[in-house]
């Protein structure tokens, strides 16, 4: 219990919130990294997944890429990138690693969502004379939206976690409060940093949960 009160004291000390190593700056870094990389990953993964799903090609790749992503340690990729020439561009390794780990869930979920659209509906759309593009945007995409959004949610949570580990390899974000705590052998700071990271991750998850509940009925998942 003693550590918890010390961690609380750390969090309520305003000196820890300001400056370049302060909570506000680290939080802003974490938020920007997560959002920028989520947008980049969606721009890369979703068009590919939607086209592959529409054509019904490349399924083995789209499904297996998630398993590959799970087997490769985030930390290893971050350090490998840090030691390559990319490591010289500041947050370069973090951004590349974040995008690499966010693409697989986006790709897999969007592809599976597209393939799970009732084939009879697709055939009916074709029978009504819809072109491929119309079928993709007016039939398949709306019906697969819950799965696509589920992929975005998994990717967002993954991004928050990866951005935290990036601190081990010198990246910015809330993880730096934890690694600095370890370097100072300050357990209260480590715990305070961990609480901040955990709350941030749960808020991100919560935002998606609320968005799903507020979405119109047809766009909701089956859960």
């Amino acid at each position: 219990m003693n550590t918890l009160t010390e961690a609380w004291d750390w969090l309520t000390d305003s000196a820890h919130w300001s400056g370049d190593d302060g909570v506000w700056h680290r939080l802003a870094q974490h938020l920007v990294l997560t959002m920028v990389c989520l947008v980049i990953s969606c721009l890369i993964a979703l068009p590919v997944a939607l086209v592959l799903g529409h054509l019904g090609k490349g399924g083995a790749l789209a499904v297996n890429i998630s398993n590959i992503g799970r087997a490769v340690p985030t930390f290893a990729v971050l350090v490998l990138l840090l030691l390559t020439p990319i490591g010289k561009w500041g947050e370069g390794p973090t951004v590349v690693a974040l995008v690499l780990f966010a693409v697989p869930p986006l790709l897999t979920n969007a592809y599976v969502g597209m393939r799970e659209v009732d084939r009879d509906v697709v055939r009916a759309a074709r029978g009504m004379g819809m072109t491929g593009r119309q079928m993709l945007f007016h039939v398949e995409l709306p019906l697969s939206l819950p799965m696509v959004m589920n992929g975005v949610r998994i990717a967002a949570v993954q991004l928050v976690a990866t951005a935290t580990i990036a601190a081990l390899a010198g990246g910015g974000g809330l993880g730096r409060i934890i690694t600095a705590g370890f370097n100072l052998a300050s357990t209260p700071q480590v715990v305070a940093g961990a609480v901040l990271v955990a709350v941030f991750a749960l808020i991100v998850e919560g935002v998606f949960e609320v968005a799903e509940r507020l979405a119109p009925h047809w766009a909701r998942g089956s859960r």
Partner: protein
């Protein structure tokens, strides 16, 4: 004074045979620690997950809280999870194991529960009609039929654990992650690449091993397909 040797270690190359031969023992120790941490965590996770899933199946009201808590646990990033456990376990291997148990538990409970729920009602009624009591029904009908779903969860949990052990380097118990961490601080390219590749090799090998075990213990799934 002798001139410094001009080998791949001195040139700090990514791929270096010299590294493999001179650091064989360090690599072996790291691999053993990596395997131990993974195996212990996943096994403890499995031992805890089976009763939790069975209870959640038996009492419907328990399923919501169990799934809710595991979802929250799974959302917490690994570095934060290890850090939150620091006041309890200190800088120890137990900290890494405890963190990994919580992640494996989440994946396993969800999959085993899904497997138990997928047992057809007709099957349960047939077993009851043959005079099976609740315990015998669970042990000889429901749990075996949930094995394929449970094994799918076990494979995901194991592969994830192999990858997450590396983060344990923050407390000095990260198996191959320790080599990656020290290699990062000294810009030792051969060490980082070798340890990273070994991590992936362990993950793939563990996945294939579990797939083999699954085929051995569920012969009926093959018969049904073939």
């Amino acid at each position: 004074m002798t001139a410094p040797p001009d080998d791949c270690l001195a040139r700090n190359e990514w791929i270096c045979g010299e590294y493999l031969s001179t650091r064989r023992q360090i690599l072996l120790d790291a691999v053993v620690q990596h395997l131990q941490l993974t195996a212990v965590s996943v096994l403890i996770g499995l031992v805890l997950a089976v009763p939790l899933a069975v209870l959640a199946r038996r009492w419907g009201w328990a399923a919501g809280p169990v799934l809710g808590v595991t979802t929250i646990l799974y959302t917490i990033p690994s570095l934060a999870m290890f850090s939150l456990l620091l006041p309890v376990y200190g800088l120890s291997a137990a900290l890494v194991v405890a963190g990994l148990v919580l992640y494996s538990l989440t994946l396993l409970v969800r999959n085993i529960l899904a497997g138990l729920r997928a047992v057809p009602e007709e099957t349960r009624q047939a077993a009851r009609g043959m005079g099976y009591g609740p315990i015998r029904l669970l042990l000889t009908v429901e749990l075996p039929l949930a094995v394929p779903a449970a094994m799918a969860g076990l494979r995901i949990a194991t592969v994830s654990a192999v990858s997450l052990v590396t983060v344990g380097a923050i407390v000095g118990f990260g198996g191959l992650g320790n080599l990656i961490y020290s290699g990062m601080n000294t810009y030792f390219k051969a060490q980082v690449l070798t340890a990273s590749v070994l991590c992936v090799v362990i993950a793939v090998a563990a996945d294939l091993l579990l797939l083999g075990v699954q085929r051995l213990i569920t012969p009926w799934t093959r018969a049904a397909r073939g």
